[in-house]
Symmetry: C2
Subunit: 363 residues, 2 copies
């Protein structure tokens, strides 16, 4: 059933106000809003109906109303008005991003910290590898002292290596042969096929250096597996404690613990299939501890087959409009930065035209 315009307006106002104050909202407060042309009695009737429709709740008889999960969902999906980032906000985000970021794992930590600062909420950031990993090229270098260096070139120019102590004496020629064989048979294929006949074929062709093959392939498998693993960081946990809903220490502890545990380990996966910004409202969360905790997250592109994700964790009563806007802008800026790593070209702050923040509110 579609809500009347007036009901929508009331619902939106209630959620807006509740987001600002964290206190149950009464009919009078709504009636006194600048562009509300009805008396508190009318609002009262509307609120009563919204309550019976399941969009609002009443903590107890003589208190105002607070949004229910369905109310938030409706708000996020249809009612919420786009938040316009101020020039100051875009500038501070840009400034934050401009700092040099080096290694990927450090980067994830840093991004999480920045997002947390920008939203004043705990933030998650993750980078996970897309697509099936394979080796582009093998190199074997004689390193003296009876050891060799194995160098793997991966797609996207990444290079990984390992020092291998030689179990047997191997000549330079043997190595050349072995690497030729490896490059001929084992490149550009997924690691699942490193088995059976292919393996035997390689062993046969490898000649004197055949005993190295298992060591090499073990390391290769390990490396490729590590490539697919997701790197994830959480920052700014303490910001939760500043919010009125977490004045209750026990509750705060439960939430913080489950943040630190595995609770969010599946978020990057969830994000894979979604596009744009995704909002998970309170009870839609999986974990029980997170009943009145929401998550807003979005993807960005790191390049090199890496998929980035940033998100924030907050009370169900969080300022979705603002958070979504900042998150989207952040993601956009990061994507652009990674697109041209040498001269980071940051997006222009939104000028006169409305700032579109794409959004899907999946369940």
């Amino acid at each position: 059933m579609e809500l009347s315009e007036r009901k929508k307006k009331v619902l939106r106002s209630v959620v807006d106000l509740y987001i600002r104050t964290a206190e149950p909202v009464g009919s009078k407060a709504i009636a006194e809003l600048p562009d509300m042309k009805y008396s508190s009695a009318t609002i009262r009737n509307e609120m009563a109906e919204l309550t019976s429709l399941g969009y609002l709740e009443q903590p107890h008889t003589s208190a105002g109303r607070i949004p229910s999960a369905a109310g938030y969902r409706m708000y996020v999906d249809e009612l919420m008005q786009d938040y316009r980032l101020s020039i100051d906000e875009t500038r501070s985000i840009n400034l934050a991003i401009e700092e040099k970021m080096q290694r990927v794992d450090r980067l994830v930590e840093k991004v999480a910290k920045l997002v947390s600062q920008a939203t004043d909420l705990p933030a998650i950031s993750a980078a996970s590898r897309q697509g099936c990993p394979c080796v582009k090229r093998f190199d074997l270098i004689l390193a003296g002292q009876g050891s060799i260096i194995l160098v793997l070139m991966l797609p996207n120019d990444q290079v990984v290596n390992k020092l291998i102590k030689l179990p047997v004496e191997v000549s330079d020629t043997d190595l050349k042969l072995l690497s030729a064989v490896l490059n001929a048979s084992m490149t550009d294929i997924p690691m699942e096929s490193f088995t059976g006949e292919l393996l035997e074929k390689v062993m046969r062709s490898a000649g004197a250096a055949a005993s190295l093959v298992p060591v090499i392939l073990d390391f290769t498998q390990e490396t490729l597996k590590a490539q697919t693993s997701t790197n994830m960081a959480i920052a700014g946990r303490a910001r939760l404690l500043g919010l009125p809903e977490y004045r209750d220490v026990d509750k705060a502890q439960r939430v913080l613990s489950s943040i630190d545990e595995e609770a969010f380990s599946n978020l990057p996966a969830v994000m894979q299939d979604a596009n744009g910004t995704k909002v998970i409202v309170g009870p839609e969360n999986i974990a029980d501890e997170l009943k009145d905790t929401s998550v807003v997250m979005t993807k960005f592109d790191i390049g090199d087959g890496l998929q980035g994700m940033i998100g924030v964790v907050g009370p169900t009563r969080m300022d979705y409009a603002k958070v979504t806007a900042r998150l989207s802008y952040f993601a956009e800026s990061l994507s652009k930065m990674f697109a041209k790593p040498e001269t980071p070209q940051l997006p222009q702050p939104p000028g006169e035209e409305p700032n579109e923040s794409p959004m899907t509110g999946g369940t």
Copy 2:
């Protein structure tokens, strides 16, 4: 001034009891302890003196006493009785450590988590490189497509590399020459000396590939710098919230924030010069937020020139004896594990002989 035996006994009892209950301790409670042979009145007098000596404090007139910072210091340095780990405790620590640990940065995270679990307090873990880093050996590999791979061998068999796009065409012979020059002049010296005449000499001898030298040395410097950087993780922050002293959310927030900020970034450095276990009691902390928060930490050996550190953060009223014992055992186990990485040989659980936990209580 040396305290009388009886005063020591009273002080120890007060701290012990306060650690257990987190409530001010009265004279009666002390007098009723099994091996206390004096009446509450006598204890009262002793406590009054201990108070005027600065070892105890009184929250208000009609309450019991709590230890002051000086009281804790005294307790940690002289009074505390060694805690004997139970077989169960050693077993669970061993079990935890036995899990495979891969990369160093992951390892640091994992260790922090384990320590936090073992002590039920937030834990810090860090790994930092010891001694001045240098390059053992340079290798340059032609990688096709107008690029080369630079391979640096560091002490302790670590290998790092980078793909370099060639600005100019370079032949295999040129590369051989360049790497010979690099290996002759730039190995086994600290990076501070990569300057002036040495640099010029290399450039002159490098021939056709001279234009590569700056790129190579930039990367080398960066790598060596990264080698000295400390890797640090904190886990189990939420455990703080379970403790009575952090029922006050604002306080908890202040402490957690400063844990997440830079507050502990200097701990690894502090640990460098200390040996054994170090206890920093509340007000000895640098940061103001950490006034009634203590830190216990100890070192362990990762090998490969890496120095490990583990520590826990807790209220000044923490069970120093227990924490210190567990931490020491943990450190010992880790050291042994890294000493023989393939077949981790864990220390035997302490048998009949007293379990010595070396300890220095520096200021």
